[in-house]
Structure formats: C-alpha cells, structure tokens
C-alpha cells in the first residue's frame, strides 16, 4: 500500500533553515567524487537494467532464461545501490516496494497467492498495481514468479504473465523515479555547498558514512546472520534470494559496492585507502572461496564456521577500517543508536 503509507523525509523541511556554518568545504572533492562516480552511476544502472527487464517481460513473459537473465541484471544493480538508503529511495516507500526482504512472516508468497487466487484485476493498471501489498512488488516477489515451482502452475498462464509484467513495469517506473530525483534534486543537495536537508558538510558526510556503516551492518547481520541463526539452530532457509541461488552473490555485490564507497570516502589518504582495500580484500577472498551459493552449509558446524569467518571479516571492516574512515571525516555512529536504554 505504497501510496497510503507515508514515509516522511524530514530533511525536506530543513530547506527553510538558514545555512549552517559548514562552508569550510574541506571534503568537497570527496563528496563530489562519491556523488558523481558512486551514487549517480549506480542509480542510472538500476534504471537502465530495470527498463531492459520490463522490455524483456513485454517481449516474452515466460519464466525462462531470457527473463531470468534480465531480472538478474536489474537485481544486481539494485543490490549494488541498496546501501544508499536515503533521499529518493525512501520517498513513497520506493525501496521497500523494490525489495521486500527480509520477509520473516512469508508475506510475499501470501500476497502473491492472494492476487493469483482472486485473479485480482489490479495487474491491469499501473496505478492499481502500485496500491497492492508492497510484499507482492519488486525483485524478491518476482523471484517467486520466476523460480518457485509453487507459482509456476498457480492460476492461469495469462494471469501469471500479466502479474509478471505488472511487477516489471512497476520496477521500471520506481527505479526511473529514483534516478530522476537523484539527478534533479538530491545530488544537488549533497554536492558542495550542502543544501536542502543538509545544513553543513558534517551532515552530508554523516549521511554518506551512515550508508557505508549500515550497508556493512546489513550484510553482516542480515545477509549472513539470518541464515547462520544460532549454532544450535542454523537457518539455511532464511538465506536471501536462495530460490535463484543468489545469496552469496549478494554478499559479494554488496562488498564490492561498499568497497568502492569506502575507497572514495578515504579520499587522498593513501594509507587509509590501503587499509580499506586490505580489509575488503580479506572478506572478498573469503566470500570467493566459500563455494556455498545459498549458505546451505550452515546446517553443519564446519560449514557454518566458514560463513561465520566471513561474517567476522565483514564485522572487522566495520569496526576497524570503516571506523577509521569515519574518523577521517569526523563522523561517528549515533549517541542513542549505540547505547539505548
């Protein structure tokens, strides 16, 4: 229910505030580099691959290799941008409509089953489809339609085809809206001098550092931690996008994207950059050597240990290298977030 639930982007209102004192611009080059060479290309790639996905579905909605490949390319682009969760991705619940995961209570298969069982006509119109449960929208919902046997036979072929096209059309429009907002509005807010929601350079750097820090946390806690479960109760079936065999791939894509961001946030500090590279390389080597695409190995102690070692390497980046990047930028994690009560 994307349009009834409102996500307020409070920073918009800060437009009215007088400009802050942060005109120092010590990190102008860093911010410009991140916006122009990290953020914008990722959302352009997401919009481009999503357009190709919709075109592929319109050409042939059969859940075969061609459509799966187009979906995989767009999903790759999303995972490679999904740490940038502020501004345009958060308006109108766009990010959740692209990526309804984790889905601990199985809302996505339930919502899809309901649409198919009712032959819900919402699939006939873009406006109506944008109003269905967001659990039935986006890349993870499409994965069920393209890879899950349960959905391959459900309902009629014509309805499944219409549903798939409704999903790809929605993805195309959403990713285009995000890219457009980035180009037309949000990039200008971040670029020096800070404007819009950002009062000063420190707030811009805080936002960018937050994306790095939260991206690492999500990969560690969620992409790896969810299937790991506990030692006594590993939960392989909670792995991300396991139906399409993409669980480990998402870890690798996110590490590559976060490494690119961390390198750029290291700026011209060669020593810091070398540390960042070493930290990420360690984790990326472990991931590449894992040979366990959906973390099925967590079910036995030695397999779980190997995933845990990868998780520790990601946590190490967060605690050491990313923390040093934060120190360079003069930003750190929140006061309340670190230590609640």
């Amino acid at each position: 229910m994307r349009h009834t639930l409102r996500t307020a982007l409070i920073p918009l209102a800060f437009v009215l505030m007088p400009p802050g004192a942060g005109q120092a611009g010590e990190f102008d080059a860093t911010v410009t580099d991140v916006v122009e060479n990290h953020i914008l290309p990722r959302f352009d790639a997401l919009a481009g691959t999503s357009e190709a996905l919709d075109a592929a579905a319109l050409a042939d909605c059969t859940p075969g290799p061609a459509l799966q490949e187009a979906w995989g390319a767009a999903f790759d682009a999303w995972i490679s941008a999904s740490h940038l969760r502020f501004g345009p991705t958060e308006a109108d619940n766009r990010a959740f409509s692209l990526a309804f995961w984790p889905d601990s209570r199985g809302a996505t298969p339930k919502a899809l089953s309901a649409l198919i069982a009712d032959s819900d006509p919402a699939v006939e119109s873009a406006e109506d489809f944008a109003q269905v449960s967001i659990a039935a929208q986006g890349f993870y919902a499409l994965e069920y339609m393209l890879y899950d046997d349960q959905f391959a036979e459900m309902g009629t072929p014509a309805y499944r085809c219409a549903l798939i096209r409704a999903m790809t059309g929605d993805i195309e429009r959403t990713t285009l809206a995000i890219a457009t907002d980035w180009h037309e509005t949000w990039a200008g807010y971040l670029l020096p001098p800070p404007s819009g929601p950002y009062r000063d350079e420190e707030e811009v750097l805080g936002e960018l550092f937050g994306a790095l820090s939260q991206g690492l946390q999500f990969t560690s806690d969620t992409r790896l931690g969810r299937p790991m479960g506990t030692f006594d109760r590993p939960r392989a079936t909670r792995a991300e996008a396991r139906r399409s065999g993409r669980s480990l791939r998402h870890v690798e894509l996110s590490l590559a994207a976060l490494r690119d961001l961390a390198e750029r946030l290291s700026g011209d500090d060669a020593e810091l950059r070398a540390q960042v590279d070493e930290g990420f390389q360690t984790a990326q080597d472990l991931a590449a050597g894992l040979d366990d695409p959906v973390f099925a190995g967590v079910d036995d102690p030695s397999g779980r240990l190997r995933v845990e070692i990868l998780q520790q390497a990601v946590d190490h980046i967060r605690q050491q290298e990313a923390a040093n990047v934060g120190a360079r930028l003069g930003v750190s994690a929140g006061f309340n977030a670190l230590d609640g009560d």
């Binding site: 639930l5 209102a13 505030m17 506990t230 929140g334 006061f335 309340n336 977030a337 009560d341």
Partner: protein
C-alpha cells in the same frame, strides 16, 4: 489538554496565584537530558519549538525526568544503574534537592509525581533480591524517602500517573545487578508486565503478554488523555523474529499489538527507544535510533500509518499537530501527522538523550 496552564490562567484571574510557577522558568514545554559539545551532561528545558530555554549541569549521564505538576521543579534521573536524582529549580538552575537511592537500590531513570504533587514515585532495583520496587518520596520535606512498595515485577523502568491519579508501571522483566553493570542476568526466565497500582501504591491488576513474547521487555510508557496506555518494547531474542514493539492497553482489557509489515518492521531492529501518543490519542509513535526511524500507528487498528526517517531519533513527545522528535545529532522536529510533514525544526549543539519529557 486541560491543563496546568489553563488552570493557572484561572488562578491568575482570581488573584490567587501560588508561587513559584513554571512561567517563571520561561514556561518550558519539554525537558530532555543531553550531552553538550564539551562532553558534559545537562538537563535542558525546551520551548514548544525546540529552542533551549535553560540548561543545568548533571554529574553524569541523565535519562528521563519528571516535572512537578505545579512547581517549576523537575527531577532529573541518572541513567540506570545510577543512584542519584537531582531536583532542579528550573527558574534559577539551582539544585533544590538531591535524592540518593537507599542502600541496595538504584534508579532506572524515570519517575512520576502524585496528582497533587505531594509525592514522587521512582522505579528502583532491589538488586540483592532481584525484585523491582517503587520508592516513595515526600516533596514537602525536601524529598525525603517515606516508603517503598513492590513494583509487581523485575526491572521496573517507566512509571506514569493515570488520569484518575493511579499509576501504571512497566516492569521490563530484566534482572541486572550493579556488580555486573548492565549485563542481563535472567533472559531465559524473564517475564515483563504492565502493573496497575492505586494512588497509594497497592497493586490493582497486571497485564502479561503471551509466553512466546516473554523476551519482549516492556520498557516505556505513554498515555492519552482518556487513559489509553501505549507501551514500547525491546526484543531480547533473535532480531528477525522480533514481534510487535508497540502495544496499546486499557486496564482489564486485551492489549492491541501494533507492527509494520516485513522489512519495515525489521527496520526498527527489534528496538523501540521511546513512545508517545498524540493529543487526541488516535496515533502512537515509537522511535528506533538504531533504525533511524519513527513509526506512527493508528491506535484503533494498530496499523502503521506514517514513518519518519531521522538519524539517531529517540526522544518522542506529543506536540501541537502530532509529535515532537529529538535526535542524538541535535535535531528537534515538530512533526505534523495531518500534513505528513515537519512543521518546524530546531538544531542544537546538544546531543539529545533517550527521552523528551512533556511538561503539563
């Protein structure tokens, strides 16, 4: 809210104004503990638009405060397991009195005055017994300790006075001991509850959640004018199995649990830091500083209706048109639930701590 201000206006007209009054303290609308840029801790009074009216030094990190119903006096509590609470005269900044928890007790960081302002009630830990108590302090005699009653559970964290003058206590269920810092000692057997007690402090009834939610520590409370209690929880189990973090309850009835769908619920990371209810009692908000998110629910249906993204958001209070939100990076935001936008914002050098306490 009928209120102390209308009441005082009446008194003024009648020429019977008792002294001193909150007006003399600049009529702050809110109190919040904070960390100042120099790293020192403060209690601040804020006006209705988030501007700092006064600040008073605290010897250590504060948590929440209780405002006296009529006198311009606030009791600022140390963060658990702190043993001090300071009575601050909000006109002069003078420390009017200091409360030290008795031997074998520490505060949890919250407190509530009796209806007439004569007594102060403070949730405390009787840590050798591993039981919660409510300390009772006599205001007129300079906040002397006069009594202590059982809280009805372990780890009583927050307490609020209900419209009829009785109280509701959030027994968080988690046993701690100062020797072990903030370490949680009883998770496998914890049983949080809401305990309703009379104005005199005798337990009247209790609400416990189902057994499968026993790891959901009931921690903070908010209240509508007609006595609907909103309670915010902090899940101690697997983050991806976290149940609802907000509940709504009227004494003697079944609670209504409120949560968002799928990843929107997960975005709260199993943790609600503060809770508030709007003036009409139709919306309840919980904050997750970890998720940088405030979620606002319909109190009748328990459905998520709005969310506000704000980094390190934690303090929440009822405000004109909706809610006031504070953050650890110094923002104070007046959020209007009607328009879905912020009406106003204030920025400060202060890092606002967990709670924003409304006066009046």
């Amino acid at each position: 809210m009928t209120s102390r201000r209308t009441f005082l206006a009446g008194m003024l007209a009648a020429g019977a104004l008792p002294t001193p009054t909150w007006a003399e303290a600049g009529d702050p609308a809110f109190l919040s503990a904070a960390r100042a840029p120099d790293g020192a801790y403060r209690l601040c009074g804020l006006d209705a638009r988030g501007q700092v009216l006064f600040q008073q030094p605290l010897p250590a990190r504060g948590h929440a405060a209780a405002a006296h119903p009529t006198r311009p006096e606030a009791v600022a509590f140390a963060r658990r397991p702190g043993t001090f609470a300071l009575v601050v005269d909000c006109r002069s900044g003078r420390i009017a009195a200091r409360l030290d928890s008795p031997e074998g007790r520490h505060f949890y960081g919250h407190g509530a005055f009796s209806d007439d302002g004569a007594l102060l009630f403070t949730p405390e830990n009787d840590y050798e017994a591993g039981q919660g108590v409510i300390g009772v302090w006599d205001v007129a005699s300079g906040y002397s300790r006069v009594d202590e009653v059982p809280s009805g559970g372990v780890g009583p964290h927050d307490i609020l006075r209900l419209p009829d003058g009785s109280f509701v206590v959030a027994n968080g269920g988690i046993e701690t001991h100062p020797d072990a810092g903030r370490a949680k000692l009883n998770l496998p057997v914890m049983r949080p509850n809401l305990t309703y007690m009379s104005a005199a402090g005798s337990i009247r009834s209790q609400m416990e959640l189902p057994e499968e939610m026993h790891l959901n520590s009931i921690r903070h409370l908010a209240l509508s004018d007609d006595g609907l209690v909103a309670f915010a929880m902090q899940w101690q189990g697997d983050e991806y199995e976290a149940p609802a973090l907000l509940g709504l309850h009227r004494e003697g009835q079944e609670p209504l649990l409120a949560m968002a769908e799928g990843p929107m619920h997960d975005a709260m990371q199993g943790y609600a830091g503060s809770v508030a209810m709007d003036a009409a009692g139709t919306r309840a908000a919980i904050s997750s500083p970890r998720g940088g998110l405030v979620q606002i629910f319909d109190t009748a249906t328990g459905e998520l209706v709005e969310q506000v993204a704000e980094a390190d958001a934690c303090g929440l209070s009822c405000g004109a048109g909706g809610f006031v939100i504070t953050s650890g990076i110094g923002h104070v935001i007046g959020y209007d639930t009607g328009s879905g936008r912020s009406d106003w914002q204030a920025a400060s050098e202060m890092q606002w701590d967990n709670h924003l306490v409304r006066i009046g």
